[in-house]
């Protein structure tokens, strides 16, 4: 493959997008762990970096496929594949520009919404209304509505269980020591399932799902037993019982934070490398069909971008957010993170690009509805809604302009 200046530019634009996600969005999902004190800033950066990278590489392919060929029908570009390359460039630049403007203006926009808006913009101009897969767009928008609500529902249920089994007992600390291993097993099971599934698909060729399930169950049982032994050994310090129980729950929240970072990597990496994957496939094959799978190095590239974003700027955002949400405790944070992560990872497998931040907000509200959090500012939901509505047209518009400029400047071949 010849080094193409266009490709270099596209990769830089994608990399910029990944760094931006790492810097801003990752902090939203890690903030609850930093705020509760379950993770120090340094550990949060490590957990976020490692898990985002793993999620991106092992499970990033599904949403990436949706971005590269699910929304715009590539067949529309069969007569002139280069237009698809320019278009995907425009998508990256348009979405990147809007995210940058929004970051500067401190608008809580989602990179996911920006990239989908950009794709719609390019699709309308380059392929026309029939060239866009409206059914997919409809499903995606539906998933944007459902994901925060589902996150709220799962977190509400999970926190209600915690309340019944631990908080609402004569001795919450003893109850936590008894029930804790089950929660540890639950999180390890889902993390194990996701990781082993990803490894089997990407690295081992397809392993039969029953093996994947078996390994995940084994991980869950071993982890549960280990935590049982650890909890048995734990002796109380005689402080306030609730505070000690929360202290004891910190490792559990570290697990749920890892789970959420994994899910976030799986979903958000596509926002940066999805268009690159399309460009590469077209360049390599000179066809628009994109039958070739997304190369793993592309996902790894996105993962590296995420990690760089987290470690250069993201930790500062995490610090700021962490300081603002000291009201959250490990049990509440665990319930919120588990709900958000589950929604995002399921959506990732289904190829639905969703906003991790919105799922997190929904999940926190879910815990709040179970009377778990003192005061939640619902005004935030309105702000999210507004930036939702402006993101689609603006990102689409910017992309259209950039696409026009690119096609005017660059050779049609």
């Amino acid at each position: 493959m010849i080094i193409n200046p266009l490709l270099v530019m596209a990769i830089l634009a994608a990399f910029y997008m990944a760094v931006n996600i790492g810097a801003n969005d990752v902090a939203n999902s890690m903030g609850t762990s930093v705020g509760s004190g379950a993770l120090t800033l340094k550990k949060a950066v490590i957990v976020a970096g490692v898990c985002n990278f793993v999620g991106a590489v092992l499970l990033g392919v599904y949403v990436t496929d949706t971005i590269r060929k699910g929304i715009i029908n590539p067949a529309a570009f069969a007569p002139n594949p280069n237009l698809l390359i320019y278009g995907m460039m425009a998508v990256l630049l348009g979405a990147g520009a809007w995210v940058s403007i929004a970051t500067y203006l401190k608008l809580p926009v989602s990179t996911t919404h920006s990239i989908v808006g950009a794709l719609i913009g390019f699709g309308l101009l380059g392929a026309g209304i029939p060239g866009i897969n409206w059914k997919v767009i409809g499903t995606i928008i539906l998933s944007w509505l459902i994901s925060p609500i589902a996150g709220a529902g799962i977190s509400y249920l999970l926190f209600t269980v915690i309340k019944r089994k631990i908080l609402d007992t004569p001795s919450p600390l003893k109850a936590a020591k008894r029930v804790g291993p089950f929660f540890v097993s639950l999180v390890l099971f889902v993390i194990g399932l996701a990781v082993v599934y990803g490894v089997s698909k990407r690295l081992l060729g397809s392993l039969h799902f029953s093996y994947v399930l078996g390994i995940a169950v084994a991980i869950a049982i071993i982890g549960g037993l280990a935590s049982y032994v650890f909890l048995r050994r734990y002796t109380l310090n005689g402080n306030d019982e609730y505070e000690e129980m929360e202290e004891l729950s910190k490792p559990l929240q570290i697990l749920s934070a890892s789970y959420e970072a994994l899910a976030q990597g799986a979903n958000d990496v596509a926002n940066s490398v999805g268009p690159i994957a399309a460009i590469l496939a077209v360049m390599e094959t000179q066809k628009v069909t994109m039958q070739v799978p997304v190369p793993i190095w592309v996902l790894a590239l996105g993962g590296v971008g995420l990690v760089i974003g987290i470690s250069t700027w993201g930790y500062r955002v995490m610090e700021t957010i962490g300081k603002k949400i000291t009201e959250i405790t490990p049990t509440r944070g665990f319930a919120a993170e588990f709900g958000a992560a589950t929604v995002v990872i399921v959506c990732s497998r289904l190829g639905m690009p969703v906003s991790t931040t919105h799922a997190s907000v929904g999940s926190v509200v879910g815990v709040g509805m179970a009377r778990g959090i003192g005061a939640i500012n619902l005004g935030v939901i309105r702000r999210i809604g507004i930036s939702w509505l402006v993101t689609l047209p603006i990102s689409a518009g910017l992309t259209m302009v950039i696409y026009k400029v690119l096609t005017a400047l660059l050779p049609h071949l």
């Binding site: 995210v99 306030d240 709040g368 778990g372 500012n377």
Partner: protein, 224 residues
């Protein structure tokens, strides 16, 4: 930065509620010394106590306003917003009544008949019982929120609220006894003194009433 998570969380009011109550309690703690100075006729000490009460009441007001300002609409709270505001109002009324007592005592130079002293101080004592229980109940609100409103914590607070009710009832009885005693002395003291002493007793009763109302509001907070 375009993060939203930080804006999602607001400071929960529970700790501040207890801070307010502690200030109100401090204010109430001046009641006994004030009344003792009053019955023993120590005008200098009375003036000093009045100043302290007035300062503490003002400090409580500042905390109250701060809590109110941080409770905008569109908050999802684990307790009802209006319950909190009413609770705060009643708690504040306790401090207000204490200040009113101080003002009544300051208003006119007068002495308290020695026969009345015992009943009057007993009334003060009973009133202070309601405040002590109220403070204890309020101090449990944080644990209540931490436990996400567990039955255990709810029962603990309920028990304390019942204690406030009992003390208020007892204060009522002492107040009636005190009034009868005052009227039995009507030939020995001037009419104006009787009027002011009656008002002071009434206001002491109000302190207990407000404490009871605050407890009632706390019940509402628990049982959302």
């Amino acid at each position: 930065m375009r993060s939203i998570m930080g804006a999602l969380f607001r400071k929960s009011p529970f700790e501040a509620l207890h801070r307010h109550m502690s200030k109100v309690k401090e204010c109430c703690n001046q009641l006994q010394p004030l009344m003792e100075a009053f019955v023993s006729g120590d005008r200098e000490l009375v003036r000093q106590k009045i100043k302290e009460i007035s300062d503490l009441e003002h400090e409580a007001d500042i905390i109250k306003n701060d809590i109110r300002e941080h409770l905008p609409h569109r908050l999802l709270m684990s307790v009802d917003r209006s319950d909190i505001l009413h609770f705060l109002n009643q708690e504040d009324a306790v401090a207000d009544s204490i200040e009113d007592i101080a003002r009544l005592i300051e208003m006119r130079e007068m002495s308290v008949p020695s026969e009345l002293k015992g009943e009057l101080m007993e009334l003060v004592d009973k009133v202070m019982h309601t405040i002590t229980s109220l403070e204890l109940a309020t101090s449990e609100i944080k644990a209540l929120a931490q436990s996400s409103f567990s039955k255990e914590e709810e029962e603990k607070i309920s028990e304390l609220i019942k204690r406030i009710d009992r003390s208020e009832f007892e204060a009522d009885l002492v107040q009636q006894r005190c009034a009868r005693k005052l009227f039995s002395l009507e030939n020995k003291i001037d009419l104006l003194s009787i009027v002011i002493l009656m008002k002071i007793m009434g206001e002491l009763g109000s302190v207990a009433d407000h404490a009871q109302n605050t407890g009632d509001r706390l019940r509402g907070i628990i049982a959302r």
